[in-house]
């Protein structure tokens, strides 16, 4: 479980996150939605440690991430996987080596065990045919799937996805969405997806946080969202513009 307590973030004088409180549960797809510039990406970056909140707490279980020592943070980060918007695959490594990378860095596995784990992860994302290919030789959808395979290579507890559908066609987007939902349930991980794709929300969204102008504007389930938009003009405008 991840808990945010009164998270604020300033860039100079500009406040981009305002008193965010939220809870993200394991085994469900938690979605952060909202228009561009609403603070979604900064919030995710604060959660994974790429940005430091100006004030507030980001709790992984009962550990406040930003008050941990360097070595403690390193340990916690081994439980975190992230699928980047641009996939962030390592150009100089093949698909197989990209997935093997976290295992080499942090695992204490034999070569055979590593190969088995890579095979399992690539099979899980239906990419068992792309072992020796470089990121530049595969499609956008395949890159996303390699990114997911790399993220789950270690037995992670938390998975962050920044715009997993950006740049993908609708069909491939659904494949990625379903894959994320399946993995979340299968490994009981806390998955947080940053998206503005309403189709994703309707397909796999279980717990939704709507961000607007740096604030948590609304939070609830998919079913509750339908009812809430009657009273919430910003949420309604976002949904109507997206569908």
């Amino acid at each position: 479980m991840i808990e945010l307590k009164n998270v604020n973030k300033f860039f100079g004088e500009r406040q981009v996150l305002k008193e965010i409180d939220a809870t993200f549960l394991p085994g469900v797809c938690n979605l952060i939605i909202g228009a561009s510039g609403g603070g979604k990406s900064v919030l995710v970056k604060c959660m994974v440690g790429l940005e430091v909140p100006t004030s507030g707490e980001v709790l992984f279980g009962n550990q406040n991430f930003h008050s941990l020592e360097y070595e403690e943070k390193k340990e916690l980060r081994k439980e975190i996987g992230m699928l980047f918007q641009g996939t962030a695959l390592f150009d100089s490594l093949t698909v197989e080596q990209n997935v093997e990378f976290p295992l080499l860095m942090f695992g204490n596995m034999t070569k055979q065990e590593r190969q088995d784990r890579v095979a399992y992860c690539l099979n899980r994302v239906n990419l068992s045919h792309a072992y020796g290919k470089y990121p530049s030789e595969i499609s956008g959808g395949m890159k996303k799937r390699v990114g997911i395979a790399r993220a789950i290579a270690l037995n992670i507890k938390y998975l962050f996805c920044d715009e997993p559908n950006s740049g993908l066609d609708p069909l491939t987007s659904r494949v990625i969405d379903n894959l994320l939902a399946e993995i979340t349930r299968e490994f009981n991980i806390t998955t947080i997806i940053n998206s503005h794709d309403m189709k994703t929300v309707l397909d796999i969204g279980e717990h939704i946080v709507f961000m607007h102008q740096g604030q948590k504007w609304w939070e609830g389930s998919k079913e509750e969202m339908k009812a809430a938009q009657q009273d919430n003009a910003e949420l309604r405008a976002f949904i109507e513009a997206s569908v």
């Binding site: 994974v48 440690g49 790429l50 943070k73 390193k74 340990e75 916690l76 980060r77 081994k78 975190i80 996987g81 992230m82 980047f84 918007q85 641009g86 962030a88 695959l89 390592f90 150009d91 976290p102 080499l104 860095m105 942090f106 962050f160």
Partner: protein, 252 residues
């Protein structure tokens, strides 16, 4: 003010780069790759530049010594002086400085663009999220590889500069091989070789660390990656020339 801020940022950055590697096996793999890229891949350009610079220096020095200026007769100097001039200037200046200026363009721009590209494509963020010190993981192998390989290239360059001079002297007939060799041997001072190595190590560190630094803090897109490469080369060249002066003043 911005100069001091930049120096401070560089020093803080180096504190992260010079940390103990997380996995020695991965560090070793990266180091070998970088040594190949920085050293072996730069060998051809270093060989060509050294041979031609040595040849040109010999021909021009001989021409100046035999020129009838009206002050001294053209045959006043023994031609072995050409060997002395080429030998000393190669060891002291041409091998370390010219080679490193060339490598600043080749290696420095390459590293800055590579690291800058990793920054804008979020690869450095991916390392950080995994709990890897991205500055150290990416930067340290490049710096160590540079500090090992660039002095080796400078030594090779020094021999080829002198050899290029010898060949050019022989084939153009301006100085015989015996005269040239006598000149090189008679003017050799071991301190000069030490200075050459000190320069090579310092220049190597400047080339690699500054280019990694410049690339690491790239913000923006493809245009900024190109700018990072250009900025890195400009700064490295200026600092090499400045350090060259300081080292010369300190040791000579």
């Amino acid at each position: 003010m911005s100069l001091f801020r930049e120096i401070g940022r560089y020093v803080l950055f180096m504190r992260y780069v010079l940390r103990k590697p997380e996995r020695l096996y991965m560090f070793w793999q990266n180091l070998m790759r970088e040594m190949n890229l920085i050293g072996v891949d730069s060998l051809l350009i270093v060989v060509l530049i050294a041979l031609f610079t040595g040849a040109v220096t010999t021909v021009q020095t001989a021409s100046q010594l035999t020129a009838d200026t009206g002050i001294l007769p053209p045959s006043f100097f023994p031609m072995s002086i050409v060997g002395s001039v080429v030998g000393s200037s190669s060891i002291l200046e041409l091998a370390p400085t010219i080679t490193c200026l060339v490598l600043a363009g080749k290696v420095g721009a390459n590293i800055a663009s590579e690291v800058g590209n990793m920054r804008i494509s979020e690869q450095l963020d991916a390392y950080e999220v995994m709990g890897i010190n991205s500055a150290g993981f990416v930067g340290l192998p490049k710096i160590i590889a540079g500090v090992i390989m660039i002095p080796c290239l400078v030594i090779v360059s020094n021999f080829l500069l002198i050899y290029g001079g010898l060949i050019a002297g022989k084939f153009t007939g301006v100085v015989t091989a015996d005269e040239f060799t006598t000149g090189v041997r008679s003017s050799f001072i071991p301190l000069y070789a030490n200075i050459m190595l000190v320069k090579a190590f310092i220049f190597a560190f400047l080339i690699t660390s500054l280019s990694v630094f410049q690339g690491y803090y790239t913000v923006g897109g493809a245009l900024e990656v190109g700018e990072a490469g250009t900025k890195a080369v400009t700064r490295i060249c200026v600092l090499i020339l400045f350090a060259d002066l300081i080292i010369a003043k300190m040791f000579l």
